[in-house]
Symmetry: C2
Subunit: 469 residues, 2 copies
């Protein structure tokens, strides 16, 4: 990518000095919350609240303006009324500020002429200068190592995921929802109306960094689609790009226009181009994180032949259906594996072929783990889907589910193939899900969601077949 662009973005995401324009002694004002977010993150550089009405804000000396600062700061965060933004941005440019985050809303997304005109004036103010701009109508940047946050209360996650989101709220919700799956972020940008820096700039920047593992995106408009697609294509097979497109439908598209001034393109053509570029398209946050989990935790798959191992038989059938509906194939187990499973399992109420049915209820200790190792050793198996549950009782028999979870974790130490887990029933099981994630086993609430994620994982790595719809 362009060297000067990279330098600007480095200064925005890893700033040594930050000015917050609009911070005040009112602790609930947007500017104060942004200053609070830097303090909560433990920002280690020089921090300058800017407000002509105060001498001190949150224990920090307050400066009257950008012009009077003792240095050219790397990043200026602007939370001021829309009409004040163009001249303020101009002041930042003249003072040699590297990047501005314009949090302020009320521009082209309002649909009103004055909003559009204000945006033109902002562009005029930075034309010919080195100042780059994030927003307006955004929450700006989160950087775990740079110790910058979108919202007060965030904290360094020390992860290797990045996110580009045209919605600040969605970025924040993703940050929190990812946590419970053990996924944490290195950098996030809430890019808003993308008047200057756009999603293609951020995608190039993130994908070219060797520290970054994958990029999630929530976009209502691909403002530089050609460059975005090129960057994704170059990373295919090494760094996944998972995209949730907002405004896929006429209704959603109208909503996106008033949200971030997004202009909807032809959805089917865009979908096809994204698929060509290897971008994994998802419909909602659940699918986005399901897929991210698979790609984060699993080794590269060799093929699409899955072995289903299930403690109850009904779920084994359902998992087999889900696997084939997601475009996977049930692995035909080798005769030696079937014989090994026959020796391990009781003769009645079980099945030693694929899907392997271990029966329901009290499986002998160690058997679940041995079955997982046996299918892992079979050369005709590429992927493993492990399903577990326990009979209904007033307490949901946590003992048995815990035992199954522990056997999955124990087997994982030796299992070499991509393995995912499905546990029933849902919300009683949050601790078991956390345990599996911490052992590197992505866990799902249904076979459908597990198989969808596996199929995305496979499609990304193999560049063949078709991703799930």
């Amino acid at each position: 990518m362009d060297r000067r662009l990279k330098e600007s973005l480095d200064r925005i995401f890893f700033p040594r000095s930050v000015a917050v324009v609009g911070a005040s002694t009112e602790t609930d004002s947007p500017g104060s919350l942004l200053l609070r977010s830097l303090l909560d993150m433990g920002f280690e550089g020089r921090l300058y609240p800017i407000n002509p009405r105060h001498e001190e804000v949150m224990g920090l000396p307050c400066h009257p303006s950008i012009a009077t600062l003792p240095e050219s700061v790397d990043l200026a965060i602007l939370s001021v009324p829309p009409a004040a933004v163009p001249s303020l941005v101009g002041e930042c440019a003249r003072r040699g500020v590297a990047g501005c985050v314009v949090n302020t809303a009320g521009f082209s997304e309002t649909g009103r002429e004055e909003g559009r005109i204000l945006e033109e004036r902002i562009l005029e103010a930075i034309r010919g200068t080195s100042l780059r701009l994030v927003g307006p109508n955004c929450m700006g940047v989160y950087s775990s190592r740079g110790k910058v946050a979108l919202f007060a209360g965030m904290f360094p996650g020390h992860g290797r995921l990045c996110m580009i989101s045209q919605s600040g709220s969605l970025a924040s919700i993703t940050f929190l929802t990812a946590l419970e799956r053990g996924l944490t972020f290195d950098r996030i940008v809430s890019s808003g109306n993308e008047l200057d820096l756009n999603c293609a700039d951020f995608l190039e920047y993130f994908l070219e960094d060797p520290e970054v593992e994958m990029v999630l995106a929530y976009l209502e408009e691909l403002r530089d689609a050609r460059r975005f697609l090129r960057a994704a294509r170059r990373a295919r097979g090494s760094k996944p790009v998972i995209l949730m497109k907002g405004g896929r439908t006429p209704g959603g598209s109208r909503a996106a226009a008033s949200h971030t001034a997004a202009m909807g393109g032809s959805s089917e053509i865009l979908k096809g181009a994204l698929r060509q570029a290897g971008v994994i398209q998802v419909r909602d946050l659940g699918e986005m994180l399901d897929t991210a989990c698979a790609l984060h935790y699993l080794p590269r798959p060799r093929g699409k032949r899955v072995a289903v191992v299930s403690s109850p038989g009904g779920l084994a059938v359902n998992a087999a259906d889900a696997a084939e509906e997601a475009g996977l194939e049930l692995a035909p187990l080798a005769p030696a594996t079937v014989k090994r499973l026959r020796d391990l399992l009781p003769p009645v109420g079980t099945s030693p072929s694929n899907p392997v049915d271990l029966g329901f209820g009290a499986v002998k200790p160690g058997v679940y783990a041995q079955v997982l190792r046996a299918v892992d050793a079979d050369p005709s198996v590429d992927l493993i889907l492990a399903v577990g549950s326990a009979p209904a009782s007033r307490k949901g028999d946590p003992g048995l589910l815990q035992a199954i979870t522990e056997e999955m974790v124990q087997a994982k130490e030796e299992v070499r193939k991509p393995m995912v887990a499905v546990l029933f029933p849902g919300s009683f099981l949050a601790p078991h899900f956390l345990r599996l994630h911490s052992a590197g086993i992505p866990a799902y609430p249904t076979p459908t969601s597990a198989c969808r994620a596996l199929a995305c994982h496979l499609w990304f790595h193999s560049a063949s077949g078709c991703p799930p719809p």
Copy 2:
């Protein structure tokens, strides 16, 4: 339905006397667990353990055989080796027993000739008698009012749902997973290989009972499809039938054959016939219970125009997309409603048209509830989708999410139209989900699942359009 069939089924589901053949002093034997399940349920009728080797089991006098019982019991539960089943069933028939549950597995589902021959001998033993049989290879019956259970540890749920499941384990898992959504069952049958009584018998029986609200089914084979479809068609618009078909794919179908000896039919033809009959088809337990929630909690819908109300804007766009992708329409709000919303909401970072965006973070107390009431009052709105979330922070800001939840609950007291909720993020929120369900608001983890459930609800009641795939 046939009067004699109904009488037999009444005696099986509401027995005054039950014999458990195979109960023993070994507390872990299958027969003992079945006896334990009756004691755990608080079965109030006469209970007879049958075992020639014991005088007493679990504090109850033990009888040597069915023949020596002091009465013709309503229900005999048989947990004995497969070879002993035919003669034992014959003995039950001669003694005037109304129904037998044959738990034993090892029949036609094994694929072996001897299993098939044993099943023929069972049929011979009951031919020309009034004895009716559940199973073999099943867990039998659960009856909340009859106080009979499938598994030890179950309890009366006092609900009005029924379930027919060819998998006992799946019935048990459904029972438990439904609990966390406030859904409880009146009756469940685990019907196994369906040698005698089949899913069509049970569907007719459940649907004709005025106490029953809806029927869930997990079936690997529709053994009397014509009668099953006729019963569902008659109930369309009043009692939903939600079906998860096992063995929809070649792989799943092979698995089903070894699970319950199911013979797969042509899947596309069957799917079309089921749709014609108004049966709601789902792919997994998650979709089954999502749909059951909508149909249980929501009033009859008038149309498909949905109002989306969202506290964050990105989710508003995503919910609008999900609604249109599920075949719903975004309601065009009346000018008076838009004006009312404009008065309620801050001018920037919000949207007063549909999807209504309340902004993110601290919404003024009472506003969320007022917005819900305003869209409910709009005559162009048929359905309401309420989305809530809160900014990321180390604790997930439970205060704000709790406030949104309480405003949804508060508004529900006046809201007259079908309303569903979506809350982010997932597992931190189990208590909020329970609170919403207890207030009669079905709650979902994503807009996709919520809209799918709404669309099923609408399709069932309107008999027009197409259900989601």
